[in-house]
């Protein structure tokens, strides 16, 4: 059977066309904006202080829990969340140790014993530190938006982690994080809005 030359031509052209099509979304993005650049920008913040308002929706509880307080971060691995309302409590992560203080109670946890919790904390710490490598150990990253208004989505790689956290969405402007939204696998979710405070 003879093959019409036109068809051969179009088949040969197909890969080139596919490649061209594949490039289209990339062209649609701001050409000078990618994860590496976001990370570089974030990494420049060595320490920071911010206020937060968090709203958690937990199925077991009849109504969402709202809390507010302050966040402190200093590179590379110190993260502190100080809740002031409704009840004073604090959570401090230093390298591999998590300390939760609530009233007179003090819980000290080794993150290595709780890999899901560790991965979860590292998603926030890794973003603040601009540590792409650390983030990619546990998550598949995707970036949307522009430098002025970006959203970084983290999807857990590990099956165990997937059973706990469905997705983490971190939004921000330039090198500042504005909100962290966590959707758990069972449908519970939390949204934390962050407002940068001037460092004293």
């Amino acid at each position: 059977m003879m093959t019409p030359p036109a068809l051969i031509f179009s088949l040969r052209a197909l890969p080139r066309i596919l490649v061209a099509l594949a490039l289209l979304p990339a062209i649609g993005h701001a050409a000078d904006w990618d994860i590496d650049q976001l990370m570089r920008g974030l990494a420049q913040t060595r320490s920071g202080r911010a206020s937060f308002v968090e709203k958690k929706s937990i199925a077991m509880l009849d109504k969402p829990v709202e809390s507010s307080g302050e966040l402190f971060y200093s590179a590379p691995d110190h993260l502190e969340k100080r809740t002031l309302k409704p009840k004073a409590e604090s959570m401090t992560v230093d390298a591999g140790t998590l300390v939760i203080e609530r009233g007179r109670q003090k819980h000290r946890l080794q993150l290595q014993d709780y890999p899901e919790l560790a991965a979860f904390i590292d998603s926030i710490r890794g973003t603040l530190a601009g540590d792409r490598k650390a983030l990619e150990r546990n998550y598949r990253l995707s970036l949307d938006g522009t430098a002025e208004r970006w959203t970084l989505q983290l999807l857990p790689l590990d099956e165990k982690m997937q059973a706990v956290v469905k997705r983490i969405r971190i939004a921000g402007a330039r090198d500042a994080v504005r909100s962290i939204e966590i959707t758990q696998a069972d449908g519970d979710s939390s949204l934390m809005l962050v407002e940068k405070l001037s460092t004293p």
Partner: protein, 811 residues
Amino acid sequence: MKPVPARRGRTVIALWLAFILACGIIISRSQFTTDLSAFLPRSPTPAQQLLMEQIRDGLASRLILVGIAGADASARARLSKQIAQRLRADPAFVSVNNGEPVSAGRDRAFLFNHRYLLSPAVTPARFSVDGLHAALSDSIDLLASPAGLLVKSLLPRDPSGEMVQLLDQLNRGTRPQMVDGAWASRDGARALMLMQTRASGSDTDAQQRAMAAIRLAFDTAVSLSPDSLPKGCPLPEAGYPHPNLLPGGEGAMVRSACFDLVMTGPGVFSVTSRDTIKSQVSRLSIISVALIATLLLLVYRSFTALILGFLPVISGALAGIAAVSLGFGAVHGITLGFGTALIGEAVDYSIYLFVQSEQGGADPQDWIKRFWPTIRLGVLTSIFGFASLLLSGFPGLAQLGLYSIAGLIAAATVTRFVLPHLLPANFRIHDVSAIGLVLSRLVQRAAALRWAAAILLLAACVVLVQHRASLWNDKISSLSPVSQADLALDASLRADMGAPDVRYLVVVSGASRESVLQSSEQVSTVLQAQVDQGELAGFESPSRYLPSIATQRARQASLPAPAVLETRLAQAVQGLPVRAQLFAPFLADVAAARSQPLLQASDLEQTSMAMAVDALLIRQDRHWSALLPLTAPEGVSINASRIRAALSATGLPNVLFVDMKTESDRLYSGYLHEVILLSLGGLVAIIGLLLWVFRSPMRVLRIIAPLAAAVITVTAGLAVFGQQLIILHLVGLLLVVAVGSNYALFFDRADCPISPRTLASMLFANLTAVAGFGLLAFSNVSILQAMGVTVAPGVILALIYSAIFARKSHA
């Protein structure tokens, strides 16, 4: 030879051979040990006894710490997992830990299923309406906190948060960090593993097998995992058999070069010190025999004389070992090492016989008549000196004493009664009178050195007075044959594991497990108060993992009946954002816990808590003890008197606060004083003997003076060189007196001026003693080294001082 003495000679030789044979048979059935506890004091009090036994046989003695260095972190972690997998199947190991969560699931299930029996928060008040309300709102807060992720699934079954309580309690204390799923050191340069052997730490053979199994698992893992071969490692050369075919073979050796395996722990220490002692003893005895043989050959120029000269030595060594074996049931390796040094002294008797006998095949009977009484007295003074060691609380020292006494008696007796019958007709050795004459001239002038000697002695006294405070080393670790490098490795691996040395302990003892656990709970309450006040960082207690039956019953009784709990719960949730229906599983669990069988020790099996209970709760016949190790706050030491006062306020009997370090050091310094007293006793006994024989205090003083001078000078010399004295230095000084007494006695012989031949014999005897003991000074076993550095210079000084302070001869 005359027929009568010949027949008598045959009888004597036959008796001697029978004796040697008997010794040989005893020795062939003897047990040889290198157990270090022979050089630890026997403990006087039951609590100290317990601690010593813990050191020897307790859980801590069964731990082996392993570090793997080399290549990159992930290769090390992979190796660690492969080794662990292999060794977990080996029945010689009770547990193999490397951070892999092998028992984490079992641990959590155990804690969760027994939470109402284990949690100290379970009290009647906690299950009242108010108590439940408080516990619930706490749990809801926790749910909203970042840790909520972890507790969410627990809430319906455990709303009062007992599981969180338990985990919190158990997770205190530091543990090594994880790198790639396995423990790693703080600096990340080593993978870490912790193994517990089934055999006790004092079973050195079993510990050696365990070490070999670890080494084999390491070699196999290295050779069987080609992907773990890091970059930059020497690859097997072309034509090499594939390394996978050679587990532990040459391929493994090539690969092992990239990784480094280190092990430490009490069992490892006993294995390495046994190896050290074994190799030292065999090497020292070979060198010492070779050295002395060369020396004697140079002097005698006769092989016959050399061989005959060693007969008393061999007889003495055999008699010594046989006597120790009969007296103690086992012979310590250190005793054998010491025995090689004693060769240097035992050979003296035959030197005296050969050299002092008139040349030209003179009748040895003449020597016996002229010199034997002096030598006999020398032997007796040595025996009197060593007899004091027999009374020592150190089994090791008593062994040395018995060995010396039996060995010296046998060597002297063989020299006196057997050797003369073995001397062939026309026996002669090289004429040494030329050396004797030189020595004689030197001795004539030696008296001129009296002033110099007096000044030296005075200087030595000044040094001793200056150093009097730091003269003695009263730390028990000074006796340890473990090298500094091994101790440093041990300390660094321990620090990496986050397992500091247990120094402070509370020991609770009693007649039953239950009574000990109950007392532990009361002590725990006191200790917890100290933790809250910041006096302690924390503590451990067996009752944490296995509460007493009484406490478990009380906790069970705190749980309300299902109907009551349901009503209270309905009231407790008011004002909280939860509905009571959510907690149906909680009601069911509490109902089950009310009739749950109480927790037994056997329920802990297969969990990692079993190891803790095993270590902290000890049974000896009908006696039970609980150990509660205390952790000091960081950078601060524990205020012992404060803890003691708090404990005594409880009025509990049989509760003992122990500072292991002070306790063992105090124990040791007590024994040091004992040995000082014993040595002085030995000295008094020697003086008494000389007084009894000579009945002249002046003469005894003349004999003792050079020996005392030698002892003072050597001690001062050790102080100047910064060597602190341990018990074995003291034994060395005793030896200086024992060996030196021979010289002093010869110089003191009243009947005639000292003959050149006698002088020569003394010089040779001195040289062999210096050779024998001097070698010990190069040993890296501190016990042997201490004796060497004391005896070798000491006997030289004893000879010189004896010559200087000898009565003026009229020659």
